[in-house]
């Protein structure tokens, strides 16, 4: 006499094996579950990684000096920014931004030119002032930027370009002034030190931490990995309804197959498919999009499999409570994809949401998956940082599986 637990395990494998046969037998569904996610990842990532060009930029130049004009020219010369005109005062800037004529405004206060030493006899004093530029920081800089955040990806690119260009302007102008010193002074230790200090970029504070190359695509791809991993969950949402529709559920429920086993058996192949997809998408992210993978790959795959399990448990629950394949598919599509895109912090950073909404967003498994994927991929952190999201996934997965077992009756009608 076998024990109950070993029955459940045997039944799970029986159902899982059968489910794998079903998937293999249907080439379209095999292709969709096997390669759909990585194809989606590549398509969506390319579509979102549009080049940001010629963002209309307005200038308010209160310095009106050679230096300010040079900075404006430099900004205009970039591909990202396009200086469309100048404003006379702040209200002019606001009007243009409100009318959406300009998406970025650069305000140059009085004092930009004054940051550079005026020609004088005190050459060493000039050197010291130039060296000090390296430490100016964004508080000391009389330049500020206003950006329209309604399109976060282009806003971020635009502001990063403006900051980078301002940096380059300060450094290059200072070094040009050093070069103009008489050749007898060029070998002085003060001058050489000043040069070295200007070697490193000026420490303006708005600098992205885990994405130093400032590529928004890098944020997007790991998030997309988590979002497209909901695709197998949508397939699972139809499995029970499918058995009901084709009349096989009646035979199945009349066998002694354990309830839990029927459900976990149906999920198991899709968890494996999820792992396969994660590996494939990891390769695409690194190979096609050139992302660096900074975390532990084994941990990443394990946590993504857990995330897949939580999504599958939800899909399975839909499949049990919604008696019709098509309706189950639509409900899971609406549940996973639409809020997935919005709540997962892809368009709106989660930190910008009110706290209650943040809690809600985080208990939504896709948000947890996006968070874990980004954290491990780009930041290279481990369980010590993502543990709470892991906890949410375990909780959601277990609750949904328990509810599924509760609602799934080995009976018809």
């Amino acid at each position: 006499m076998r024990t109950h637990a070993s029955n459940i395990i045997r039944h799970t494998f029986a159902i899982a094996r059968k489910e794998i046969w079903h998937i293999i037998r249907d080439p379209i569904s095999l292709f969709l579950v096997g390669f759909g996610p990585v194809i989606m990842l590549i398509i969506i990532s390319y579509a979102f990684a549009v080049e940001v060009r010629d963002v209309p930029t307005l200038v308010l130049d209160l310095d009106r000096t050679e230096a300010s004009r040079e900075l404006i020219e430099r900004l205009d010369a970039t591909e990202v920014l396009d200086v469309i005109g100048t404003a006379d005062d702040m209200s002019g800037v606001e009007r243009a931004m409100d009318a959406r004529m300009a998406r970025v405004a650069v305000v140059i206060d009085r004092g930009l030119e004054a940051m550079f030493p005026a020609p004088s006899g005190d050459l060493l004093g000039m050197v010291a002032q130039l060296a000090a530029l390296a430490q100016v920081g964004d508080r000391g800089l009389p330049v500020s930027y206003i950006v329209d955040g309604t399109e976060p990806i282009s806003a971020e690119t635009a502001i990063e370009t403006a900051i980078k260009e301002t940096n380059a302007f300060l450094v290059e102008r200072a070094r040009a002034l050093l070069d103009m010193l008489p050749s007898s002074m060029q070998n002085l230790p003060e001058v050489q030190r000043a040069r070295e200090q200007l070697e490193t970029p000026i420490a303006l504070e708005v600098i992205t931490h885990y994405n130093p190359e400032e590529k928004t695509l890098w944020d997007l791809v790991p998030a997309m990995i988590a979002i497209v991993l909901t695709m197998p969950a949508m397939s699972v949402a139809t499995v029970i309804a499918k058995e009901r529709d084709q009349g096989t559920l009646e035979f199945l429920v009349a066998t002694p197959a354990a309830r839990l086993a029927i459900l976990t058996g149906k999920m198991l192949p899709y968890v494996l498919i999820g792992v396969f997809n994660v590996l494939l998408m990891y390769l695409a992210a690194v190979g096609v999009f050139g992302l660096p993978f900074r975390g532990n790959l084994l941990l990443y795959v394990a946590l993504m499999a857990l995330y897949e399990f939580a999504c599958l448990a939800i899909g399975l629950f839909f499949s049990i409570v919604i008696p019709n394949q098509e309706a189950a598919l639509w409900v899971s599509l609406m549940f996973f994809l639409f809020p997935g895109f919005f709540l997962s912090g892809m368009f709106f950073p989660i930190v910008a949401m009110p706290l209650e909404m943040r809690m809600e967003a985080m208990s939504f498994p896709v948000s947890g998956g996006v968070f874990i994927s980004r954290s491990l991929f780009l930041q290279g952190v481990g369980l010590d940082v993502v543990w709470w999201a892991v906890g949410i996934l375990i909780y959601v997965g277990a609750i949904m599986l328990a509810l599924s077992v509760l609602f799934f009756k080995k009976r018809i009608a």
């Binding site: 494998f13 059968k18 046969w21 037998r25 009646e250 429920v253 066998t255 080995k410 009976r411």
Partner: protein
């Protein structure tokens, strides 16, 4: 203790349909029991209640000694159930379907191989091992489901219209299989719309509107028919008129046309002169008239009609 036992078993559906209405049934071990009845009589619902895949709304049922509600999973270990529709996977091959059922019942290795070979031979499906369930003919599908239901050597077989939509040759083969199982001691409950199949059962129950209105051996059931069955032959062109005329005759319980003959159930043979008179009045020539032994079908039609009136 009966192999199948029900007491006041009721299944009412939402909307008020009472598909099974107070069924008291005992099927003994080793019995081949037939349930016949028109569409919607409650046959399928009865089998589902016995297979423990539907909850009764009243009464109790035990199968192989287990309660179908409290010990549903134990019941499922003892039975082989064949749903009315093809219950197996159309995208899986014959062999894969059987392997799946073996997986469920934990049949492994040599034992599994032998059992599958044996059942494929029994069902005449040995050459179709690799064929997908969905590509089998109706008759082969039924045999495959029966083979699957037999994997674990169940003590009780519950078969819901196992030969509906199956050609006569396959039907005969199917019944040969059932006879073999029956002689092997398996208790079988089979629902069927075919009266000739009912004749092959040890006992037959007639279901009508959720109730089992009679239940006995085929011979006893036929004896319940109070009158006689007369076969009337008339010229082919006069068939319809004759049928109409005979229906109006007092003392006629049922009239049924079979090809060139009309069978009528009459209260007794003394109806003969009136019958001849009615046909003569219509100008129909009576070619032949003779009593024939009653068929199951006639017995049931009579019983259903007499209930209705």
């Amino acid at each position: 203790m009966s192999m199948i036992h029900t007491e006041a078993l009721v299944r009412r559906f939402r909307g008020g349909v009472i598909a099974v209405d107070g069924l008291d049934l005992d099927v003994e071990e080793g019995e081949l029991f037939g349930i016949v009845g028109p569409d919607g009589a409650g046959k399928t619902t009865t089998l589902r209640l016995l297979a423990a895949i539907m909850k009764p709304t009243g009464g109790i049922a035990t199968v192989a000694g287990y309660d179908t509600v409290r010990e549903a999973e134990a019941v499922k270990r003892e039975i082989g159930y064949m749903p009315q529709q093809f219950g197996l996977y159309p995208d899986l091959s014959v062999e894969e379907n059987l392997n799946f059922v073996c997986d469920i019942f934990g049949l492994e290795g040599e034992e599994r191989r032998r059992r599958i070979d044996e059942l494929l031979g029994f069902a005449g499906l040995s050459e179709f091992r690799k064929r997908r369930g969905g590509h089998l003919s109706g008759g082969m599908q039924k045999k495959l489901v029966l083979a699957s239901a037999l994997i674990h050597k169940p003590r009780v077989l519950l078969l819901d219209e196992p030969t509906t939509g199956v050609d006569p040759v396959a039907r005969r083969q199917f019944w040969e299989m059932l006879s073999e199982l029956h002689s092997g001691g398996t208790t079988i409950v089979v629902c069927t719309p075919y009266m000739d199949e009912a004749e092959r059962c040890n006992r037959v129950g007639l279901m009508y509107e959720g109730r089992m209105i009679v239940c006995d051996t085929p011979a006893a059931l036929k004896r319940m028919l109070p009158g006689v069955v007369l076969a009337v032959s008339v010229p082919p062109r006069a068939m319809i008129d004759a049928e109409q005329a005979l229906r109006r005759l007092p003392g006629v319980l049922d009239v049924q046309a079979y090809g060139d003959r009309i069978h009528l159930i009459a209260s007794g043979p003394e109806i003969r002169p009136e019958l001849e008179a009615v046909l003569a009045a219509e100008g129909i020539k009576l070619l032949d008239l003779r009593p024939v032994p009653p068929r199951m079908e006639e017995a049931f039609i009579y019983m259903i009609r007499s209930r209705g009136s």
